[in-house]
């Protein structure tokens, strides 16, 4: 029944209604802003701190790890909240505010996607299933440096030129799980 709607029931209240609306909308904007800052910060702050060839201060590093640890879930929750809030704000927003919403949502989306990615592995791809050659089949130069481990009768060599790119390799040698790093 249309008469149950407050606006239909109390048309005389319309000017008063606009005031709380503006108030509410301001709060929604603030909430949107906070959610956007949270999502963006969760990705960008650790990414900024953990830059290669930059000094990492101990406390900054702890902050970076703490944020990065929470980033996947945090950006997802904040990101979804941003979209819901933006949807609510959209109808009343002017052209500039709409542009602001779109821009913020783009950066929030980017941050959320990046928080679920490991871009260090884009730079240095991991070896998914390491393959091995008998030493007689290897083309390595005798002067090339390798990392070597031995467990019982199992001998393995990891060329440093390869490890310096991949950095980390999970392997099992003689039944012992090891992480080879360089």
């Amino acid at each position: 029944m249309s008469t149950s709607s407050p606006s239909a029931q109390l048309p005389q209240n319309q000017p008063d209604r606009r005031q709380p609306d503006r108030q509410t909308s301001r709060w929604i904007w603030i909430l949107f802003f906070l959610c956007a800052v949270a999502a963006i910060g969760l990705f960008f702050i650790p990414a900024f701190i953990i830059r290669p060839f930059r000094y990492q201060a101990p406390r900054a590093l702890l902050l970076a790890m703490a944020l990065r640890q929470r980033a996947p879930l945090g950006t997802l929750i904040a990101g979804v909240a941003c979209f819901v809030l933006a949807f609510v704000l959209w109808r009343t927003a002017g052209r500039w505010r709409k542009a602001l919403l779109v821009l913020a949502l783009l950066v929030v989306t980017f941050s959320t996607i990046m928080a679920w990615q490991n871009y260090f592995e884009w730079m240095f791809h991991p070896i998914a299933g390491p393959q091995f050659l008998a030493q007689s089949e290897s083309n390595l130069d005798p002067k090339e440096m390798i990392l070597a481990v031995r467990f019982g009768s199992d001998d393995r060599a990891y060329p440093i030129s390869q490890m310096a790119y991949h950095h980390v390799l999970n392997d099992v040698v003689g039944g012992v799980p090891i992480a080879v790093t360089y």
Binding site: P46, I50, P52, F53, Y55, Q56, L61, L62, A64, M65, A66, R68, Q69, N118, F120, E121, F124, H125, P126, I127, P130, Q131, F132, L133, A134, Q135, E137, S138, L140, D141, P142, K143, E144, M145, I146, L147, A148, V149, R150, S153, D154, D155, R156, A157, Y158, P159, I160, S161, Q162, M163, A164, Y165, H166, H167, V168, N170, V176, P177, A179, T181
Partner: protein
Amino acid sequence: MNGRVLHFYLAGINNQNFLMRDKETGTWWQQITGKAIYGPLQGAALELVLSDELTFGEWRTESPTGQVLAPVTKYAKKYDINWEPDVAKLPVVISFPGSELKSRDVVIGLTIADAARAYPWETFAKQSPVLDRVNGTPLLLVLGPDGKSFRVFVSRIDNHDAEFFLQGDDTADAPAEKKAWTLLDATTASQWNFQGCATSGPAQGKCLDRVPALKDYWFDWRNYHPDTTVYKH
């Protein structure tokens, strides 16, 4: 870790020593120390496995049935055969002014019961074999026959401290890999191979205990071993 197998992946960098995380718990680990620095397993440490840094040629003669990690074709172009001089050119972000070494000086770092010592590579390569004592433990550091591989041993035979020397070759100017490589101990004059085992003489069949050691840049070693001493002679 506590009976659980962890799988690691590259997760970041901490002053040019990388950080890895494990897929199972998400804990953050420092590469050089193997210590968990943040996350559910914080405070834990991975067990260091004895490993070698050798030339392929040296390893091949020692490990006739050994296996070599195959290059991944997709990334073969990214492998830098010339990694050593290339990495040496990269900038550093931490330095230790006042220490006698330069940031990118290569050292052999080792710890004996929490006492750390760094051996500048140049000094070591010139003097090899180096005899030293860290925290009461007599050590033998020796450069391999190829002039590039190195190993560190406890220089004790049957619980007695021992001295070692490389039998001089008259072609002193010859490159290291061309020189005859004969390691002898001063007590029994037995001959030892680069794996630390006596191959002839009274000590034949005996092997020295190994000491894990890391070839590293000075800045990195010093950063994670602030109390390290530096070998001088």
